[in-house]
Amino acid sequence: MADYDAIVVGAGLSGSTAAYCMAKAGLSVLVLERGDAAGVKNVTGGRLYGHSLEKIIPGFASEAPVERKIVRERVTMMTEDSCFTADFHSASRFADPACASYSVLRAEFDAWLAGKAEEAGCDIVCPAHADELLEENGKITGVKAGDDELTAEVVLLADGVNSLLGQKAGLKKELSPHHVAVGAKEVIELPKGVINDRFGLNDGEGAANLFAGFASGGMVGGGFLYTNKESLCLGLVITVADMAKSSIRLPDLLEKFRDHPAVKPLVAGGKLVEYSAHLVPEGGLAMLPALSADNLLLLGDAAGFCMNLGYTVRGMDLAIASGQLAAETVVEAKGKGDFSNAALSGYKSKLEQSFVLKDMQTHKHAPDFIEHTPRMFKEYPALAADVFTQLFRVDGTPSKLMLKKALPLISKVGFLNLIKDGLKGTRAL
């Protein structure tokens, strides 16, 4: 007899969700987390789209430690000395919990979700590093952590983007620099009222701002800024392939971003309380691994369920949904007493029928588009800046019509490029 029905490696959002759902269905579950507590090792930009967790724990936002509900969306094109921002504000259109999104800090949020799993009856051990998968006659029978061997009918790998156990089990390959980005972020403390004033928010309301152009030093990637209750998350996500070629280090790039004339006043007077860095899977479907094997499932970032569309990053809602679907699959397998790959393959079909693989399919050209359209990160922010400078710079020299002002600027980038990128972009994103 195995010690547990299921062992989950990693108490991130995918792992804790799976553990919670399996325990609720009456399975015995052990979760191993290498951090001192759930969430301490985890990094995110900051925005959780709530829909997938809402289905599992309706009304979760009223009990979970969410920071602010996002009501203001900003997308900014940035050059060294300018910012062109589209700003959309609506409290009512994002009011429905089914579509609401929230800024979150992982140390608090993950600890809460792990706590829910524990309440539901899971054993959660942290710090506990899962070192190896146990195998007997070619069949995975559990996990080795230090000198301890822990056995289970099925192992769920929710160990994040760099899933070493997933690689060892042969489900996925080593990460390619083109399929992964590196993110760095700072948490900057500011009083609640100051944040409300600077971003035009009421208590409890939040803003999300993504930046293209100067923020990433022209490299493939971008900057982000999220408002929390009493802090801001400011950070960058840049593909590893570009970062490796660059002479500037990520922390220095982040500092330049923070010192940009349009960002500086937003963070002024704040206290830097945390710096963290982490990888982000960005390969989309192109890097999709085998999602299951005999007695084994891959969840969340470990499976590469993450989408970077430039105007938004989504990984957490996918991680949560994959955790729920993995749990459903395991519960069914338990019912049949069969944990073979054939019995677990329902996991992939469930993902295909859900938004997880549907959305990744819809946006499957996004990673390629973003990587192969460097103009998005250099020429277009400059173009926006030039057009707006022409529109609003009045210095007494005879004025021209708008079209005349814009045409020569656009021709610098190339009309065809603009049309081509525009079409490709609207198709991919």
Binding site: V125, A128, D148
Partner: protein, 260 residues
């Protein structure tokens, strides 16, 4: 040897204490409680003695909200834990803590060895071990850097400034261990899981044979502030100056400051 009691304190993680730059006040908001690092060595020695003697190992602690400590303590080896909570212990000094711990030890009956570490990371008073000895009427062996069981006696090394002293004592005894007495291993997964199955018992003052006076501190803390560190900020290597000159200046400066 039948019963060993090991004392541990449930303290706030000092690594997460933050200082308010303006008032120098300490902000404990981000600090989570943990077992005092020094006491982890005491627990580890307890496990060694338990294994050598077959004695029962009992963890004891007191404070305001120490129940959550039991799981962590139990994962480090004791067979059971007794914890005593009293709101007045929020202001406890070493005298009050020692009285409560001594009461707990007495109520356990016939404790052969009481293990303590030298200090706690929060108050650093270094008094509980010796006070326990006085209250219980046990001899106290301090600065212990090695412990061995020999029959019904303990042979211990005491690390002193001038060298190492070796002592042999028969139970009952209070042993105060130094951090270098042995490694304090991180509990394994099975130990952590096993901890859930061991008993964690609440005790109150009456149960420890004490009245409410026991928890009254003799020392009251007026305020706690972070120290101000000021730098002289002297630039010794100015523009165009040679490194050799700068070094000479540095040596001079350090000797005038009495640092060499």
């Amino acid at each position: 040897m039948k019963k060993i009691a090991v004392c541990y304190k449930w303290v706030l993680n000092d690594g997460d204490i933050r200082v308010n730059d303006k008032t120098r006040d300490l902000d404990f908001e981000k600090s989570k409680p943990q077992i005092n690092e020094y006491d982890r060595n005491g627990l580890a020695v307890g496990v060694q003695l338990k294994e050598a003697s077959g004695a029962e190992l009992i963890g004891i602690t007191c404070g305001v909200d120490t129940e959550p400590s039991a799981k962590d303590a139990l994962s480090r080896g004791p067979d059971m834990v007794y914890y005593l909570n009293d709101p007045a212990l929020a202001q406890a000094d070493s005298a009050a803590s020692s009285k409560v711990l001594a009461g707990m030890v007495r109520s356990l009956g016939d404790v052969d060895v009481v293990l303590c570490s030298e200090c706690s990371s929060d108050d650093f008073a270094q008094q509980v071990g010796p006070r326990l000895g006085a209250l219980l009427g046990y001899p106290v062996i301090s600065y212990v850097s090695a412990v061995k069981l020999e029959g019904d006696a303990l042979v211990m090394d005491r690390k002193l400034e001038e060298g190492t002293e070796s002592v042999k004592v028969k139970a009952p005894v209070v042993v105060v261990v130094s951090p270098d007495v042995c490694e304090a291993p991180i509990p394994s997964v099975k130990q952590i899981l096993g901890a859930k199955k061991k008993p964690a018992n609440a005790m109150d003052l009456a149960g420890a044979g004490l009245g409410p006076d026991a928890v009254k501190p003799m020392v009251t803390v007026q305020s706690v502030k972070a120290p101000l560190t000021s730098r002289k900020a002297v630039n010794l290597l100015g523009d165009g100056e040679s490194v050799a000159d700068a070094v000479a200046k540095l040596v001079k400066q350090l000797s005038t400051d009495g640092l060499l």
